[in-house]
């Protein structure tokens, strides 16, 4: 069944791709196919997962498709691995993916390139499934590169806008830096173990590597470099906010729920390697915690509704890396799942808002920014459903007790705290995370207040055009809201009844790393106290936002005064983009233009080597053909020279 789940989106891509060339107006067919393959894929994945849960098995199911590269020692099969971890990811990708496809039917309805959009989206799901199901590193890498390609295509979907095309390129290039690390790690693993199959590598790892040795540490750090690029962590996070140039459902699917979490998945998948390299684990956790806090501060002051969510995503991914870095793999995957629900919901909700705003402005031919929160306000009157479900998601991400985000975030912080007894660093990580959580509650409440509450700042004429989005868009939101609210029950804390279901489910995948991880256990009392603290943090953040922010006093975007001081620094992402431009992009550009291109390429390589070699080659060839006289006598003479030559070679 699993192969069907993978194949269907690909078929969808082929058919929709064909339609985009030959029947660009067949929107109904495209919708049916684009959404249908995802739903069917979800159903077949579900059947596969139910089969997995029901069957007694002591090893993952490996589905061999065909032998791809049988070369000497290197045996790479195109094979899929179905185990507890890929089952969870499978459900998230196909489930959330199907909902977002449905939403897209409404959101993209009037786009000129409707079939192309669905073709890309189907292709993305295909590659994402290859990524999470691959049974070895090369297959994972195909998926990894494939989703990167689709991300590039979808960020630059409206490629006639140059800024958007540039954002696509930026994402692509930043990801290449990370992929370089992933590739190097693969080479090193192959050299050490002689295989790239997950099962073989993980079985052989305890014998092949020295725990905490330099080799395993380097391998895991290189793997993490790949994760940094794909999952937008410091210092390679700047592409993700720019990636918001793509259609909003794409941001929801690729840049919130699925692709950007691939890094977390990779670390959870290779958990035994990271467990054997505690230094790398600490680096992962620290980078995650710093990113979580850093991105949260930037989110405080963004006006673009999607930018807030983008920085929020970077921050939440930081939380997940804290979890997998400290060795709490189940907690990381847990947050990945809950985040997929509430962040997809937030993005889709924001998409509804932007959709409606855009329509209103389009109707009045106003050039105002449909994504700027200063132009919104009071939208709950016009869009009650959207406002309600987005509040659910906001409460979930802020960490209000009982909702999914509360449990998953609390678990990460508790796991980090528990390891503080072993090393003080983990207390620092916990503290960074706690502050980030406080800021999360603040900026999310800010987003809601400015968007849905207070007076309407859209403008008189536009306000008449505001209305609730169609049901194809609100329907998926309601389903996701249910997920955001109830997702926490997947993995309740230890002190509650029915606790740790997901942790138990993932045990077959993570148990290999258990011997290498330090014992971390919290007393029930401490756990209760941490939960209480988390509740306080959430409440404090939200109340502070409510108290300090005055949506009534906010003016529309064009009337807003320029920001000053710290606020401007935050609004401009700490000027990191400018910093990268000055320190890396411009010098590289200069060197490649002036030195590499002018002097080395044009002068030395083209002039001396290429043209020179071409001339010499042609000359030699011409000399060779001069012997081709057509005269038999010449041929025989050469033949005899050859005979002498061969005989002397044999004798010598």
């Amino acid at each position: 069944m699993i192969w069907l789940a993978v194949l269907l989106p690909f078929l969808g891509f082929l058919v929709n791709g064909w339609l985009s060339f030959f029947r660009p107006d067949a929107k109904r067919a495209v919708s049916v196919i684009g959404v249908g393959v995802l739903v069917a894929s979800f159903i077949s994945a579900l059947a596969g997962v139910v089969g997995l849960a029901g069957a007694v098995h002591d090893a993952p199911y490996i589905v061999h498709m065909w032998s791809w590269m049988p070369v000497g020692e290197l045996q790479v099969d195109l094979a899929f691995q179905v185990d507890e971890l890929s089952a969870v990811m499978l459900m998230v990708v196909t489930g959330v993916g199907a909902l977002i496809h449905v939403f897209s039917v409404g959101y993209m309805r009037e786009d000129r390139s409707y079939p192309r959009y669905f073709a890309y989206l189907n292709l993305f799901v295909f590659f994402m499934l290859v990524l999470i199901l691959g049974a070895n590193f090369p297959v994972l890498f195909i998926g990894w590169e494939g989703v990167g390609l689709c991300s590039y295509l979808l960020i630059g979907f409206w490629f006639d806008d140059e800024a958007k095309a540039t954002a696509g390129k930026k994402a692509f290039i930043m990801n290449r830096i990370g992929d370089f690390g992933l590739l190097l790690a693969m080479f090193m693993i192959f050299r050490a173990v002689g295989s790239l199959d997950f099962l073989e590598v993980f079985d052989a790892a305890p014998a092949a590597f020295v725990t905490n040795g330099p080799e395993i540490t380097l391998i895991t750090l290189l793997l993490f470099l790949g994760c940094i690029g794909k999952s937008a962590q410091i210092p390679l996070y700047t592409w993700l906010p720019d990636a918001m140039a793509g259609p909003t459902p794409v941001s929801a699917l690729i840049h919130a729920a699925t692709m950007v979490t691939a890094g977390v998945y990779l670390i959870a998948r290779t958990n035994i390697l990271f467990a054997m390299a505690p230094v790398s684990g600490a680096v992962v956790a620290l980078v995650g915690a710093v990113t979580a806090l850093f991105a949260a501060t930037i989110a405080l002051k963004q006006w673009d509704i999607k930018k807030v969510l983008a920085y929020s995503t970077v921050s939440q991914l930081g939380f997940m890396f804290v979890a997998v870095g400290v060795g709490a793999y189940a907690a990381g995957i847990f947050h990945l799942v809950t985040h997929a629900f509430f962040k997809a919901l937030l993005f889709l909700g924001a998409g509804s808002v932007i959709h409606v705003m855009h329509h209103a402005y389009h109707h009045t031919h106003s050039g105002e920014d449909a994504q700027d929160m200063r132009n919104m306000g009071g939208l709950r009157k016009f869009m009650p459903w959207t406002a309600a479900v987005m509040w659910v998601a906001t409460l979930a991400i802020a960490g209000v007790p009982g909702l999914s985000g509360f449990f998953s975030k609390d678990q990460i912080l508790a796991e980090a705290f528990a390891r503080g007894q072993g090393a003080f660093l983990f207390y620092v990580i916990w503290a960074l995370g706690a502050v980030a959580a406080l800021l999360t509650a603040f900026y999310m409440t800010r987003l809601m207040l400015y968007t849905f509450h207070g007076p309407n700042r859209t403008g008189e004429a536009e306000a008449k055009q505001l209305h609730e989005a169609p049901w194809v868009m609100t329907g998926p939101l309601v389903v996701l809201a249910a997920g955001s609210a109830l997702g926490g029950f997947l993995n309740l804390p230890h002190v509650l009844p029915g606790a740790g279901w997901l942790e138990h489910w993932l045990k077959p995948v993570t148990e290999g790393s258990v011997p290498y991880l330090s014992e971390a256990h919290l007393s029930a009392g401490l756990e209760w106290r941490l939960m209480g603290l988390a509740t306080l943090i959430a409440a404090a953040g939200m109340i502070a936002a409510w108290y300090f922010l005055k949506p009534d006093r906010l003016g529309a975007a064009k009337a807003a005064p320029a920001e000053a001081g710290v606020q401007r620094v935050l609004l401009n992402n700490y000027y990191v983009d400018e910093l990268y431009n000055t320190l890396i992009v411009r010098p590289t550009d200069w060197v490649s233009r002036k030195v590499l291109w002018r002097i080395i390429d044009m002068g030395a390589i083209d002039g001396a080597v290429v043209h020179g070699a071409a001339k010499v080659s042609r000359l030699l060839g011409w000399i060779g053909t001069r012997f081709q006289t057509g005269n038999l006598g010449t041929y025989v003479v050469l033949f005899v020279i050859g005979v002498l030559f061969v005989l002397s070679a044999v004798a010598g």
Binding site: S67, A614, G624, F627, Q628, L632, Y635, V636, V646
Partner: protein, 514 residues
């Protein structure tokens, strides 16, 4: 182990040579038919269809043996029954089938109304199959001569072409000269080891310690020269451009693909099976031949402006790549040969097929710039040609890449790093003449409005061009299956340990040590 055939009995010999016997039967029948019906176009086409039926049924007979996994009872005395024979014979038969398919349209257009044309292709194919099946130097020589004489005649079969006649005569004279070296080499090897059986030669060399025997070494050297001529290795390549240019285009394809593959099959069997243990005596010579051939072929191709001549020199370069696989002297090298020969047969037939479509009057004068703008007028034909050029170049995603890569692997595995590096460098040079073809087709405008009006692939030729292009891409992306077949077909090419230790030496082996 599958069916065991006792080659000492007539029945065993019959089953062991079933494909050759089937093809011979068909060829004799075709000869009778040609005797009664040799009038014109209609008869010529009938002969072609008959030849096609003959080759296809032979292929099935061969595959029947392969499926039965027929193996000899004891050592192979005259005829080898192993995967290497089945696989390489399959390549020759496929090459011959595609040649006949290309010829159907070609002979009508060029008004070659001689049914012997097809008859000679059949007999040449029998010769090739005997060569790859030979387990004895004498049998091998018989096969070689059956093939060669047919090909000499085929070269000059278009009697209206002066170039064809000249090329045939040159080919025959030089070929006879080379055969002399080959048979002399066989004689010396017999003198040294006391046997002409390929397995027993290996046994004698080991048991009698002949690794540095002068007579043996001279014999091996002459043998290499004979084969170097047949595969067109530099500096024994001088006949190739003239002959390839003068012969009818489908026949050129047949020579470049199947004839060359057959010579390599025999050479590979001798070098790996009989002389694999005494690799030190011959590796150096073949190493140099490979280097000179790769570099020479590619450099000289660079200087060509005429497409057919360029492909002739390119085929010399490819012989150099295949010699690299021979140098390794291992079963991996043999597997690489099988993969390479298959891919090369496809690409050669396809490329010459396109040439036959775009050219007229023997295609002697089709220049590379004549293809300008083909992509705009005949997109599919240009696409196929681009696939062929890229595959010849060894561009990733085509079968040519995997083939070259496999050869490279075999060289690296045998610690031939330098040779591998030279191979890669030579391939870089080859981009200098393959890519201009693609550029002409895609980036230049047609010279005149009427250009390429008549360049339409029709009938069976179209199938050959389409199928080869599709297969090349398919293999380029999914090489696994073909690699498995190549490897399993050549993994018992070396004589098994039981024979080398216990088998009797030749009756008068003692004489040789004196």
């Amino acid at each position: 182990m599958g069916m065991v055939v006792n080659l000492a009995t007539p029945a065993g010999l019959f089953w062991g040579m079933l494909p050759e016997i089937v093809l011979t039967g068909w060829a004799l029948a075709l000869m009778l038919v040609a005797g009664w019906r040799h009038g014109g176009e209609e008869d010529q086409r009938f002969a072609g269809q008959l030849a096609l039926a003959a080759l296809v049924s032979t292929l099935f007979a061969l595959w029947w043996l392969w499926a039965k996994d027929a193996r000899p009872d004891g050592i192979a005395l005259m005829i080898a029954l192993d995967g290497f024979r089945y696989a390489s014979s399959t390549i020759f038969l496929l090459g011959a089938i595609m040649t006949v398919m290309l010829s159907l349209g070609y002979v009508r257009r060029e008004r070659i109304h001689t049914p012997e044309y097809y008859l000679l292709i059949l007999f040449a194919t029998i010769g090739m199959m005997v060569m790859s099946a030979a387990a004895d130097l004498i049998v091998l020589f018989l096969g070689l001569e059956i093939m060669s004489i047919c090909v000499y005649v085929l070269t000059g079969i278009n009697r209206r072409s002066v170039f064809g006649a000249e090329a045939a005569l040159k080919y025959f004279l030089l070929g006879a000269f080379a055969s002399g070296f080959l048979i002399y080499g066989i004689a010396l090897i017999y003198g040294a080891t006391g046997t002409t059986n390929l397995t027993l030669i290996a046994v004698s060399i080991t048991n009698l310690g002949l690794q540095s025997n002068g007579m043996l070494m001279a014999g091996i050297g002459l043998l290499i020269i004979g084969f170097a001529f047949k595969v067109g290795a530099v500096p024994f390549h001088m006949w190739t451009p003239d002959v390839y240019e003068g012969a009818p285009t489908p026949i050129t394809a047949f020579m470049a693909a199947a004839v060359k593959a057959a010579a390599f099959a025999a050479l590979m069997r001798i070098m790996v099976h009989s002389l694999g243990e005494s690799i030190g005596t011959w590796q150096n010579a073949v190493w140099w031949l490979a280097v000179v051939t790769m570099l020479g072929g590619n450099l000289m191709a660079l200087a060509q402006r005429r497409l057919k001549r360029m492909l002739a020199y390119s085929s010399i370069a490819h012989a150099g790549y295949l010699l690299t696989a021979v140098v390794s002297g291992t079963e991996t090298g043999a597997a690489a040969y099988l993969f390479y020969a298959f891919a090369y047969t496809l690409v050669t037939l396809g490329a010459f097929g396109v040439l036959a479509v775009v050219g007229r009057n023997g295609e002697r004068d089709v220049r590379i710039d004549d293809l300008a703008g083909l992509a705009a007028k005949r997109p599919w034909l240009a696409f196929a040609m681009a696939v062929f050029m890229l595959s010849l170049l060894g561009f990733p995603g085509t079968a040519g890449f995997m083939a070259k890569w496999y050869v490279l692997m075999s060289a690296i595995e045998a610690d031939q790093w330098k040779l591998g590096i030279i191979l890669v460098l030579a391939s870089v040079v080859s981009a200098g003449y393959y890519l201009p073809v693609v550029m002409e087709m895609y980036m230049n405008q047609p010279i005149t409005e009427e250009a390429h009006q008549e360049s339409v692939a029709v009938g069976a030729g179209r199938w050959v061009i389409g199928a080869t292009a599709a297969l090349l891409l398919l293999i380029g992306f999914f090489p696994g299956r073909l690699m498995d077949v190549s490897r399993s077909s050549s993994d018992d090419l070396k004589p098994s340990a039981a024979f080398t230790l216990n088998a009797p030496t030749g009756p008068d082996a003692g004489m040789a040590s004196r």
